[in-house]
């Protein structure tokens, strides 16, 4: 079988699996967030944290919950790393330095999982399991909770209430993430991923010399790493490491896990707003962009010219032989179009244009399908902007799902789309303008610039993948990417929740023949166009000086 055919077959299998699962999972998630009943274990948790799970929250209350929970998460994770040296079960690793501890704490709480450390050389069992793995679950659950709050804003009328954050957080974790991750972890173990608490092994190599192999609860972390679109690997090599991602089958499974919740949430959205067609329209938008990016990526990676590439069946540098160009391309696009950031191949080694595709995927705001929760709310914000333009063009005050997009709604949506470009561009510009930060670059020229641009694009968009090459473990990069992650995660959430509150207070406008039909393909097309043009225009100069300059040379 040719590598191209193998890639296409993998792609088709993946699409088939997603098509099968998204309806039942999406409907199930809608039920989780709408149900009135609490599980017994949930009641215990509510009692322990002193929360009333049935109290409806207005948007400021909901936001306070999100922020309070996240601040506690950052502090806890920071302390855990700083105290690693005196904690038991740390495999002898010392405490992490302050700048890196801050960076890592923020990184995992913001669902970014940017790693400026080598996992197997820095973090012991306690930090990995009690710290990082826990945040892998709850940071994902926070993202879904905020998305669900926005969906409620569309679905509810004449109330300012968005549900209960604590109940959404606990349910998302216990009823959605834990069960799926458990099943996935078992499959991963069955396929060869490791799951133990053993120490460091010295292993002799074929070519002489020796190598250190760590044990660890890898499969369980791997499952939630992908499912929660986290991306922080147990090992530095991330999903390229055979202990994390041993076979082509686990590779496809991991891509499936990355995509399954973000795509299925469109169904949840449709069910909760009472029109599954609206959910399909959003799904179609996400899917169109994702598929276009995958196709482009495969095309540029397979078609790369040069005798070495031809002999290898494509641009194989930095890619694992067991995944090939196809599996690596699908993974790379899926991880950068979601806020995952896990990698099974090295984005820096992709062709110039291929690297550009991974960058552009993040620049779109990670909305196709995006991170768990964050993808849906990011896409809905873009839909609000597109509805505004389209609504004007049909001669009515724009409305989406019956809710009017007036000055207040526009202000919030406009602020949302400003944040990540501002963070990514300003931090990159500062890094390029200052004398020392450019020393972290591995390469010179356009590729070196891409490394820095990639780092801040990844951090601001809470992706977490790295272009590789850049030495990000400096005080400058640890602090600045940490800030970019914090602001890039929580400022948008403020605007999303404020928007949700504003929408929930509105009285819906009934649908008539004069209403813009947002469930039709025409609108989906407009939405895709608006997303590509608006983000494309924002980043075009920067992209021109990085991947385009390299790719077109």
């Amino acid at each position: 079988m040719s590598p191209v055919l193998a890639g296409v077959l993998q792609l088709l299998a993946l699409i088939g699996a997603l098509a099968l699962v998204h309806i039942p999972l999406g409907t199930y998630m809608a039920r989780v967030y709408s149900s009135k009943k609490h599980l017994r274990v949930e009641k215990w948790i509510y009692k322990a944290i002193g929360a009333d799970p049935d109290a409806e929250m207005t948007w400021p209350a909901y936001l306070r919950g999100v922020l309070a929970f996240s601040v506690v998460g950052v502090l806890f994770l920071y302390l855990l790393q700083r105290l690693q040296g005196i904690l038991p079960g740390s495999m002898g690793f010392s405490s992490v330095n302050p700048a890196q501890s801050f960076n890592t704490a923020v990184s995992f709480v913001t669902n970014t999982n940017w790693q400026s450390y080598y996992g197997e050389q820095t973090m012991g069992h306690v930090v990995q399991t009690a710290g990082l793995a826990v945040q892998n679950f709850v940071s994902a659950s926070v993202g879904i909770a905020v998305a669900v709050a926005l969906v409620r804003g569309f679905a509810r009328s004449r109330t300012g209430e968005l549900g209960n954050f604590w109940s959404d957080l606990v349910r998302g974790t216990l009823r959605i993430l834990v069960p799926i991750a458990a099943v996935a972890a078992v499959i991963l173990v069955a396929c060869g991923a490791i799951q133990n608490f053993s120490g460091i092994h010295e292993v002799g190599q074929f070519m002489g010399g020796s190598q250190q192999w760590n044990g660890g609860a890898v499969a369980s972390q791997e499952a939630i790493k992908e499912l929660g679109t986290n991306g922080g690997g147990y090992f530095n090599a991330n999903s390229a490491h055979p202990f994390e991602n041993p076979t082509p089958l686990t590779n496809i499974l991991e891509i499936f896990l990355i995509l399954v919740i973000p795509f299925s949430l469109t169904r949840t959205f449709g069910v909760m707003v009472g029109s599954v067609k609206q959910g399909y329209a959003i799904l179609a938008t996400m899917f169109t962009i994702w598929l276009a990016f995958v196709s482009l990526m495969m095309w540029t990676e397979f078609a790369h010219h040069g005798p070495a590439f031809q002999a290898a069946g494509g641009a194989m540098e930095g890619k694992e032989v067991r995944f090939g160009v196809g599996g690596s391309s699908i993974f790379a696009v899926s991880t950068t179009l979601t806020s995952t950031g896990a990698v099974d191949s090295f984005h820096s080694s992709f062709t110039g244009l291929g690297g550009g595709i991974t960058l552009l995927g993040m620049m779109l705001g990670e909305i196709a399908p995006g991170g768990v929760g964050s993808g849906l709310y990011g896409m809905l914000i873009m839909a609000v902007i597109a509805v505004f333009l389209a609504g004007l063009m049909v001669g009515r005050t724009p409305e989406y799902l019956g809710k009017k997009i007036g000055a207040r709604e526009m202000k919030l949506a406009a602020a949302y789309i400003l944040i990540t470009p501002a963070l990514a561009l300003v931090f990159t510009a500062a890094s390029m303008a200052l004398p020392t930060p450019p020393h972290s670059m591995l390469n010179s020229g356009a590729h070196g610039f891409s490394e820095v641009l990639y780092a801040f694009t990844s951090a601001s968009n809470n992706n977490g993948s790295a272009f590789a090459g850049l030495n990000a473990n400096t005080d400058w990069f640890n602090t600045m990417t940490g800030l970019a992650m914090l602001l890039g995660r929580f400022l948008p959430m403020v605007f999303v929740l404020a928007l949700a509150g504003s929408l929930a207070g509105q009285r819906p406008v009934p649908v008539s023949a004069g209403t813009l039909r947002t469930e039709k393909p025409l609108f989906t097309g407009l939405l895709v166009g608006a997303i590509l043009i608006i983000t494309g225009l924002t980043y075009f100069p920067a992209l021109a000086l990085g991947p385009l300059a390299e790719g077109l040379a």
């Binding site: 505004f388 333009l389 389209a390 609504g391 004007l392 063009m393 049909v394 001669g395 009515r396 005050t397 019956g402 997009i405 007036g406 000055a407 709604e409 526009m410 202000k411 406009a414 602020a415 400003l418 470009p421 501002a422 561009l425 990159t428 510009a429 500062a430 390029m432 450019p438 356009a446 610039f449 009285r507 819906p508 406008v509 009934p510 008539s512 023949a513 004069g514 209403t515 813009l516 039909r517 039709k520 025409l522 609108f523 407009l526 166009g529 043009i533 608006i534 494309g536 225009l537 924002t538 980043y539 075009f540 100069p541 920067a542 021109a544 000086l545 385009l548 300059a549 077109l552 040379a553």
Partner: protein
């Protein structure tokens, strides 16, 4: 059934009473203008551009510019490039870019100035009407009067106006009847009747009394009169940004900030790449990227929208109301005058058993000759048209004694050649026949009932001759639906707007007319409370409601409706309550108002889409120009093959400036609007302004580049 007939009779009575006071121009035939008069028409005179130039330069004042954030950024950019050019006076490129950037700002101001200029002309005409008047104020006793300047009147003063006097201020007639020339505000030369009491008591300052004497109670302070408000409205002085305009401004501001960031962060990137970007080039890139096209035209679009209403003789008291008009989903239309012609007309003659149709027609015609009401005239006309009965004149019948129609008797007729013929409301005619000792034919009642059920009004025709007094037959009076109304309602339905007919008729009659006219719903036997309840019910469902009204009892509903159009002939209370006034007092205009509201939003959306889509081409012009020297591969993006980097940047800037002027006519006229479903409209506008906006600048920039490359020495 008898009650129904009686109800008709009271109504007819009212109609008859009010007929003489109807403004002569109120009976506009169908109320709907010919297609060329539809929204979207309007001439644009290039001379206006030249005339408005001084204003455009005056608007360069930064205190004025700051109101439009996008253009203010261009203004700052122009200042910056000029300063940098001054530092390097030999740099022709810097000067040329600076010049075109200033032109971009001037063109934007020009668009606004032209839009305002159209209103100014109208304001001047109005000011002429507002010449200083001398008021004849009645003194406390009410018998003697003093002469005071019109500006010194206070609310509550009583003033006297006689033939030839200009009415000194807004008020209500409290005594007398007069014909008034209101052409100063309506442009309609035929005089209208104003009288004390009832719904036609309001007079407007600046209009002229043509006959008789009236006493007016002043209701508005000088300086706040209707004509003052009109002047400030058409001049745009009172213009405030509408909610939707504010929302759009926010989006534009946010796009501007995004592009500002993209440009401001570029120098360090470029330095790293090994090239230095000058301030002139950076500003040029920024101005090309920010949405200047829509930013420049936004306020002109708003002013022109209001102006289009003024040209249709509608005064909107706020821009908010015009926008709301585009969102209206329920239209409340009065039946009489809007859906049907003002009066019922005879449609058929139905004989009772033993009589013939011709006999009925003959008797009906004879008895109607003394009935000057429109209904009476229509009987004569039908007899002539349908039965070939020549119209006879009262003078030809010698010895006839005519009984004229009065509101009291509700009957007309003639006594001639020993025959007594009567025609009129059922109750009156039955009473008359019984009085003459005749009997009532059994089937008269049945026929009348059938006509009522069909939505018509039965009039009885009776005769007394040698064979005694008896009913001959029934005249079927019918409401006549205006031509083209059904099609209009179909259009409205396609636009997603529901029409509700409001009528005082009974439900049966209302239903029949509603079906014939093709309205979606009707409210029969409507009281002001019913209207109010209907509006609130629709609004509770999230719908926006528009209605027209003229009476004082309409005022609460006009105030409650999202778009309340008061007729200029109406009372001051109604005009105060509504948010628009129709100077022509033509209720059908509501439909045009909705179209203008929609057109306003569509124009904004279309030009915004166009503006954003334009940026793609500009990038393809400017980015290779800036960086192809250091990264030769980027020259592949120069798909337009522009002749030189300088020329590429300049072409983009020039295109950006010229497109504003090119789109001024469109922004003033508005995007062509035809009623169609939202889907089709979106497809059409996306095609024209989205795709068009993507492609047009590629062609435009290439063309300008070709011209520039022809300039010797470049």
């Amino acid at each position: 059934m008898t009650t129904d007939i009686q109800k008709h009779e009271t109504q007819k009575h009212e109609d008859a009473m009010s007929t003489p006071t109807l403004a002569p121009h109120q009976d506009a035939p169908t109320g709907h203008t010919a297609p060329e008069g539809r929204v979207g028409a309007g001439l644009f005179d290039p001379k206006q551009l030249v005339r408005s130039l001084p204003d455009a330069f005056r608007k360069l004042d930064p205190r004025v510019m700051v109101k439009s954030p996008v253009m203010f950024v261009v203004w700052i950019g122009s200042v910056l490039t000029t300063v940098f050019s001054l530092k390097d006076p030999g740099d022709w490129f810097g000067w040329t870019i600076s010049a075109w950037l200033w032109l971009t700002v001037v063109f934007a101001n020009l668009a606004e100035a032209v839009a305002e200029g159209r209103g100014k002309a109208q304001a001047d005409t109005l000011r002429k009407a507002k010449t200083d008047t001398v008021a004849r104020r009645l003194l406390a006793g009410g018998t003697s009067e003093e002469r005071v300047p019109g500006t010194e009147l206070t609310v509550g003063d009583l003033v006297v106006c006689e033939a030839g006097d200009v009415i000194p201020g807004d008020g209500d007639v409290v005594e007398g009847v007069a014909s008034v020339d209101e052409s100063a505000i309506t442009g309609e030369s035929a005089p209208v009747i104003r009288e004390s009491g009832g719904d036609r008591s309001a007079v407007t300052g600046g209009t002229k009394v043509l006959s008789d004497r009236i006493v007016i109670k002043i209701t508005t302070r000088p300086g706040e009169t209707f004509i003052d408000r009109m002047i400030s409205l058409v001049e745009g002085a009172a213009r405030q940004k509408t909610p939707n305009e504010i929302a759009l401004n926010i989006l534009l501001a946010s796009l501007t900030i995004v592009f500002l960031l993209a440009c401001a962060t570029l120098p360090p990137f470029a330095n790293y790449a090994g090239t230095h970007l000058t301030m002139v080039v950076l500003v040029a890139l920024l101005v090309c990227l920010i949405p200047t096209t829509i930013g420049a035209l936004l306020s002109a679009i708003g002013i022109a929208g209001m102006d289009r209403l003024v040209q249709r003789n509608v005064l909107a008291m706020s821009g908010r109301a015009v926008e709301a008009a585009g969102d209206v989903s329920t239209l409340l239309l009065d039946k009489t005058g809007t859906i049907t012609l003002g009066n019922r007309q005879a449609a058929e003659f139905v004989p009772v058993r033993g009589a013939t149709e011709a006999e009925v027609a003959d008797a009906a015609q004879l008895s109607s000759l003394a009935d000057e009401t429109p209904e009476g005239r229509s009987v004569v006309v039908l007899a002539k048209d349908r039965y070939g009965l020549r119209e006879r004149y009262q003078g030809e019948l010698v010895g006839a004694e005519w009984i004229a129609f009065t509101a009291q008797t509700r009957m007309s007729g003639v006594d001639v050649d020993g025959r007594k013929i009567r025609k009129g409301a059922a109750g009156s005619v039955i009473a008359w026949v019984e009085e003459q000792g005749g009997r009532i034919a059994e089937d008269a009642d049945r026929i009348a009932g059938r006509i009522s059920e069909a939505g018509g009004t039965p009039l009885l025709v009776a005769v007394q001759d040698g064979r005694g007094a008896r009913i001959l037959g029934v005249v079927h009076l019918k409401d006549v639906v205006k031509q083209g109304m059904r099609e209009r309602f179909d259009e409205l339905r396609r636009m997603g707007i529901k029409t509700v007919m409001i009528t005082g008729d009974n439900p049966l009659t209302a239903k029949a007319i509603a079906e014939e006219a093709g309205v979606d719903d009707f409210l029969a036997e409507a009281t002001p409370e019913d209207k109010m309840a209907l509006i609130k019910r629709e609004q509770a469902g999230g719908k926006l409601v528009a209605m027209t009204g003229d009476g004082t009892n309409d005022a609460p509903a006009l105030a409650q409706a999202d778009v309340g159009v008061a007729m200029n002939t109406g009372t001051s209370a109604a005009k105060e309550a509504g948010n628009m006034v129709d100077l022509d007092s033509n209720p059908t205009k509501l439909i045009e108002i909705v179209e203008i509201g929609k057109q306003l939003l569509i124009t904004r959306g279309a030009l915004t889409t166009f503006s954003i889509a334009n940026d793609v081409a500009k990038y393809f012009a400017i980015i290779p120009a800036l960086f192809a020297a250091v990264y030769p591969g980027l020259d592949k993006l120069n798909i337009m093959h522009l002749s030189s980097p300088d020329s590429a940047i300049l072409s983009a800037v020039v295109f950006n400036a010229l497109i504003i002027v090119a789109l001024v006519p469109l922004s003033l006229k508005g995007v062509r609007y035809r009623p169609m479903s939202a889907d089709r409209m979106l497809r059409r506008n996306l095609g024209i302004y989205g795709l068009g906006g993507l492609i047009a600048p590629f062609l435009g920039i290439k063309l300008i580049d070709l011209l520039i490359s022809l300039v010797p020495g470049l």
